[in-house]
């Protein structure tokens, strides 16, 4: 898994590429929490190229969500592909996270 970050307007876009499996979740946690601890609390996770996610990485996204919203920020999800969409629906995490078809619409909602 690789993570690429960029800033657009006042949001941090985090592109998660590859498999967010249990072995990658610690790296994902470190990256997301470092961003939030650094003061950026408006996060958009770009899932366009995320081909797998396990429950550990879901837990990381939730932890980031709780920390960001606790500081009046947010974690939005953008463009999950079919398998990830199914996981979000199965777990009902699509009720917790705002999910958008692409980064642009996530940015527009921010």
């Amino acid at each position: 898994m690789k993570i690429e970050t960029r800033t657009e307007f006042d949001c941090q876009i985090i592109a998660i590429r590859g498999s967010a499996d249990v072995n990658a979740s610690a790296f994902l946690r470190e990256a997301l929490l470092a961003i939030i601890e650094g003061g950026m609390t408006r996060l958009i996770c770009d899932l366009t190229e995320t081909d797998f996610i396990g429950s550990d990485a879901l837990g990381v996204l939730i932890t980031a969500y709780l920390k960001a919203t606790g500081r009046n920020g947010f974690v939005k999800l953008a463009n999950p592909q079919s398998h990830l969409t199914e996981v979000l629906e199965t777990t009902r995490l699509n009720r917790l996270f705002d999910v958008y078809p692409d980064v642009s619409s996530a940015l527009a909602s921010a």
Partner: protein
């Protein structure tokens, strides 16, 4: 480890892997299983479902069963035919009651970072059974 190897029947022999409790060991087993699935031309939906369920079972065995004790082992058996996948995962823990796990999809649990593994296994596999002691899980996915 007290678990006995599963019996061989019409599905043929089981492949067995035993490894210490280390998350780094998971990828090798996943890779072997997914390679066999691809050889038999299983589609991407099946590959995703089996990978997810296998990972959840192995993580549960290491975290909740063996409490990440590197001196304890995880044992996996799997066999894959053109018709179905069968996987058995056993740990050296004291077991648990799967019925006692809170529903992670309940509104009050949606923001809990943990507790989704068993639910995902049940959703993505056709059959998920725990041993009476709760330290072994058997999963089946049909084509």
């Amino acid at each position: 480890m007290t678990s006995n190897p599963p019996k061989t029947d019409d599905m043929g022999a089981w492949t067995e892997r035993v490894f210490p409790t280390s998350l780094a060991e998971i990828r090798g087993t996943e890779r072997d299983v997914l390679t066999r699935l691809r050889e038999l031309a299983y589609d991407e939906d099946h590959l995703f479902a089996v990978r997810l369920s296998l990972e959840e079972a192995l993580v549960n065995a290491m975290r909740h069963g063996n409490h990440f004790d590197p001196n304890r082992s995880v044992r996996v058996w799997y066999r894959i035919s053109p018709d179905r996948v069968e996987i058995r995962v056993a740990d050296e823990g004291t077991g648990f009651d799967p019925g006692g796990v809170p529903d992670p999809t309940a509104d009050e649990n949606l923001d809990k970072p943990c507790g989704r593994g068993i639910m995902l296994m049940r959703c993505y596999m056709d059959k998920v059974e725990f041993s009476p002691r709760g330290n072994e899980v058997f999963m089946v996915k049909h084509r």
